[in-house]
Amino acid sequence: MTVEGIKTEIQKLAFAAVDSVYRYVIGVRASLKPKPPAPPKWLHKGRMYAFTDPKCNDGDVFENCNLMQVLPDTEIMVGKKMTLKNCQLTNVKLVSGMTIEGGNTCKWDFCSHNHEVFTKFGLPVCKEFCRHWNDEDKVYEDILLGQSPIPKAVAEIGVN
């Protein structure tokens, strides 16, 4: 084989190599289906979500929202990860996946005598002189059950 012949063979091989790589890439690209777009991360700001289980995407941020529930340890937004900044979280069950910055994490045993409107949202109706009755002061009182523990992963990050 002449020198020119060798050059021609090398050029053919090089072209074939480039062409195969090109076809491979095109093939791979063609075989890839487009990924569904990631759900948007919403900023929920100043919204009233009390007594509801709001729709939430992973990464959403709730700021100055009211998410209170009528019964202690009520689960909401199960399985989602979100940041809750300065939100009213009374009676919300706090679980890992929730990043909590400020707000209110109390657990209250509400009395329907004090919160008649809460019965519209699931608070059981109390009987007369129920457990909330303070006989000394002759009033019905909500009972503070304590504060929900902050999920450990969040506590390590720190707040404020």
Binding site: M48, N86, C87, N104, T105, H115
Partner: protein, 326 residues
């Protein structure tokens, strides 16, 4: 009339008279005896845990005006909010307990997170003034054990995210350009007060609940009452009198726009108001104001989503609010 400074990044050096020497806790300033005309400048955020509350109890005498003013990061007064933040997980019962001393002025302070109340008025304190303050995330914003929140002025303040009431048992108080939202009851009036140009929206019970009004006058004017999810715009208890409601908008409330529970008194009346889409009706036990209108006939369009979002009290002053008018 010295000025004291508090900033968590200060050097905590007495007499705390510059930002560099600022007390790292406002509770340090509280331990000083302040006098009439003294001012406390505060910036940033400070956390209050279980036991600590701000009282200004050692300060001055009765009738001595002492001011606490929030500043921005540059130290400019009234250019940003100073935040007293309850330590989440170890919230105090109250962030501020009033001290039976009259004449305190609070400007641009955010009170956030307490189990019972942001501010506890223990003994009918009078003459407190609140301007551009935010109260949030407790059971009540301001209330007492059994007495009234008496003779206090609120201007450009925000009350939000309370499981009970924004203000409980206000008596002879003035509310001007304030916003009450995401509470159970926005404002509870226990005796004559003035409420003007305020926004009430998305409270779960009544926006305003008037439990007593027997002498002088309660004036409610120029307010918006929108989207109560379980109550009325204004609910007036049995045997109340001397209430005037003027130039207000009542829309999308779950019960009535104006509800008088029983025994309507002729001194309780409304006029020049607009009504639309109040589920139970526009009025109960109160006569139709001759100049009031159904807003449906007046071009009112209910937007798909209201936009009342406010970032801070400064926005409350300067941002126009979408009132859904076509």
């Amino acid at each position: 009339m010295p000025i004291y400074y508090t900033d968590s990044a200060g050097s905590n050096t007495a007499p705390y008279d510059t930002w560099a020497k600022a007390a790292t806790s406002i509770l340090t300033i509280e331990a000083l005896v302040l006098n009439a005309g003294d001012i406390v400048y505060a910036r940033g955020s400070q956390t209050i845990s279980g036991a600590g509350v701000l009282t200004l109890a050692a300060s001055g005498t009765n009738l001595a005006m002492i001011s606490v003013i929030g500043c921005d990061a540059a130290g400019t007064p009234n250019a940003g909010q100073f935040t007293l933040l309850g330590d989440v997980g170890n919230l105090p019962a109250h962030l501020v307990v009033s001290s039976a001393k009259t004449y305190r002025r609070w400007e641009n302070i955010t009170f956030s997170g307490a189990t019972n109340r942001c501010v506890y008025c223990g003994n009918n304190e009078t003459g407190w003034q609140w301007e551009s303050c935010i109260f949030e995330n407790s059971a009540d914003g301001i209330s007492t054990g059994s007495n009234d929140v008496l003779r206090q002025e609120f201007e450009d303040c925000i009350f939000r995210n309370f499981t009970s009431e924004g203000v409980h048992q206000a008596t002879i108080c003035s509310f001007k350009a304030c916003a009450f939202y995401n509470c159970a009851i926005g404002l509870n009036l226990n005796n004559p007060s003035t409420v003007e140009n305020c926004l009430f929206r998305e409270n779960s019970d009544d926006h305003i609940d008037i439990t007593t009004s027997i002498n002088n006058w309660t004036i409610i004017s120029g307010c918006t009452f929108d989207s109560s999810s379980g109550g009325s715009g204004i609910k007036i208890a049995d045997a109340c009198g001397h209430i005037r409601i003027r130039w207000c908008r009542f829309t999308n409330n779950n019960q009535y726009a104006i509800e008088v529970v029983a025994n309507p008194d002729v001194t309780v009346n409304e006029d020049y108001n607009g009504f639309r889409l109040n589920a139970a009706g526009n009025r109960l036990n109160i006569a139709v104001g001759p100049n009031s209108v159904d807003l449906g006939a007046d071009g009112y369009v209910d937007a798909a989503a209201d936009n009342y979002s406010l970032a801070d009290a400064a926005e409350q002053r300067r941002v126009p609010i979408n009132l859904d008018w076509a």
